[in-house]
């Protein structure tokens, strides 16, 4: 049995579509069923629906053999896993954004609100720029609007949310998309099945 961790939500639905195309579908997963575990014994797969940022945690600890997770999460948490392929969906960027017309004052530390403290700290350390990090868990766009921070470092797909909050992109830090990852130990013992999924996923692209 191969345990697969998928992110709950829109990306998870897209990813599940792909698994379904490989003939690894599972009854009940497409509808209103609110269970978090779905199993297809004939195909030998079990899906675990978890919070997107927790997918890698399940995989690292072996509770899931493989999983699908955004590159943004991989960059932030640097889990010790195999990153087998780019699924080419869930594309987005991690950017630095600020209020329209923002002018940076380099004589003081820059206050940066973000969900990605590790990636952000790394980016500014490379620039030798002193910052104050403010870790938020959501509605990051609110931070510059309310004066909580000077800029934000956040994920952007189309940029609509930024625009609606009168923010604009200053810099792109990283590109992200959904990646297929595998637990390093599980991969040794379920190699054929995992490589099979990877190869067919690549063909689907």
């Amino acid at each position: 049995m191969l345990n697969i961790a998928l992110p709950k939500g829109r990306l998870g639905d897209q990813v599940y579509d792909k698994f379904q195309k490989l003939g690894l579908g599972c009854s009940g997963m497409d509808g209103s069923d609110r269970r978090l575990v779905f199993e297809n014994p004939e195909a030998g797969v079990r899906y675990l629906l978890v919070k997107p940022s927790d997918v890698a945690v399940y995989v690292v600890h072996g509770a899931a053999d493989i999983g699908v997770v955004g590159k943004d999460v991989l960059l932030e948490t640097e889990p010790d896993v195999y990153e087998l392929c780019d699924l080419g969906i869930g594309k987005c960027r991690i950017v630095i954004a600020a209020k329209n017309g923002f002018k940076e004052d380099t004589s003081v530390p820059l206050r940066v609100a973000t969900k990605y403290p590790h990636v952000t700290a790394h980016y500014y350390a490379d620039l030798n720029r002193r910052i104050e990090l403010i870790k938020l868990n959501g509605s990051i766009e609110l931070a510059p609007v309310t004066g909580l921070s000077d800029v934000i470092s956040d994920i952007v797909e189309t940029g609509t949310t930024l625009k609606e909050n009168n923010l604009s992109v200053l810099e792109t830090i990283a590109f992200s998309s959904a990646r297929l990852i595998a637990n390093k130990s599980a991969y040794q013992f379920k190699r054929e099945m995992i490589d099979g999924i990877r190869d067919r996923m690549e063909q689907l692209r």
Binding site: V60, G62, V81, Y82, E83, K184, S185, Q188, R191
Partner: protein
């Protein structure tokens, strides 16, 4: 006799260090015992060797900064006599590390083996065979991956951190971008074969003296492993990498199906020996037993085979009875009464003329 009986009764996890010790001693390796502390200076310049984890320090007498031992290999290297041609050692020690990020302090039980002066095909095969046998003791489903840092240096020249990360993560796309060769990236990420002696799949990557030498070394090793009948559980896999400042030849990583992360790691660390000014070559590995405690946890149903309740009985008689039962191979727990909540297969109440 009595000790043998007790050892058999030990839970699997507690038997592991004893079995590993027996294995290493059967190859003539000597046990190495060390102190828990070391001066911090020993580690300061070799922090990267410790896979990025923090060291726990304290101030010793005279204001010297001391460290709780985060690693055993470095101490062994430090104490190697440069005049000694060969040393075969093993150890079973607890090491102390501070986890990156949350700073959690951990005590890790580690068993390892070092072959100082391992410089020929035989010695390399011996250490790899011992690594493979150690894994098999832990779990019947085990895989030992072997890579070669010298081969990678030959292919790429300088090994940057990004390059090693991409290799370790089997990340084709990232590797292709770094080395600008999609085909090479694909080969190195998929490469994983049982070491059939010819290693055909590697030939295409042999381009210069370094890769040629590493290729020959791997081929010889593979041939010896096949001859030893161990090739089933061994793979040549270039996602097996380790810090190139320290490791310059073969590198190993071992997995068992019961554990989610690698339980064995090691390789040839001649470069590390040079850093400490030692002329010898060296090869070794460590097994992280601490991580396995949970994996092999077996809740025991009983505290003892027999609960002997002696009550107001003559103590001499009670001691004698208990000893007699132990001599028959039972574990016996003696208590004054039955109120202690002791779980036993059988309860014997002395002086009551009956077995409950």
């Amino acid at each position: 006799m009595e000790v043998a009986l007790l050892t058999e009764k030990l839970p699997f996890f507690d038997r592991i260090p004893l079995q590993l010790r027996a294995l290493y001693e059967s190859f003539g390796y000597r046990k190495y015992r060390m102190d828990k502390f070391e001066t911090y200076d020993t580690y300061r310049e070799n922090k990267n060797f410790l896979t990025g984890e923090g060291i726990i320090t304290f101030t010793g007498a005279g204001g010297r900064l001391m460290a709780l031992k985060p690693d055993v290999t470095i101490s062994i290297i430090k104490n190697v006599d440069p005049e000694d041609v060969r040393e075969k050692l093993f150890y079973h020690e607890n090491v102390f590390r501070m986890k990156k990020g949350d700073g959690e302090v951990r005590e890790i039980s580690q068993t390892g083996l070092e072959y100082i002066g391992a410089d020929d095909a035989f010695s390399e095969a011996e250490v790899v065979i011992l690594a493979a046998k150690s894994l098999s003791l832990l779990d019947e489903n085990d895989i030992l991956n072997i890579g070669h840092m010298g081969f990678l240096s030959g292919v790429f020249g300088d090994l940057s951190e990004e390059l090693l990360d991409a290799l370790a993560g089997k990340n084709r796309a990232a590797l292709a971008e770094i080395c600008g060769d999609a085909e090479l990236a694909e080969t190195l990420c998929t490469l994983c074969e049982k070491p059939t002696a010819e290693l055909e799949f590697l030939k295409g990557l042999v381009k210069n003296e370094r890769t040629q030498a590493a290729f020959e070394e791997l081929k010889t090793l593979a041939g010896l492993l096949c001859a030893a009948g161990l090739d089933e559980n061994i793979r040549i896999d270039f996602s097996t990498v380790n810090a190139p400042d320290y490791y310059n030849g073969i590198v190993m990583r071992g997995y068992i199906s019961k554990a989610a992360s690698a339980v064995l790691a090691g390789g040839r660390y001649d470069s590390m020996m040079r850093r400490f000014g030692k002329p010898q070559t060296a090869l070794g590995f460590a097994i992280y037993l601490g991580e396995l405690e949970r994996v092999f946890y077996e809740p025991s149903e009983f505290d003892a085979d027999i609960l002997l309740v002696y009550g107001e009985c003559d103590p001499r008689e009670a001691l004698e009875k208990a000893e007699k039962m132990r001599a028959q191979g039972y574990t016996v727990r003696a208590e004054k009464d039955q109120n202690g909540g002791v779980r036993a297969k059988k309860t014997i109440v002395l002086g009551a003329n009956q077995d409950a």
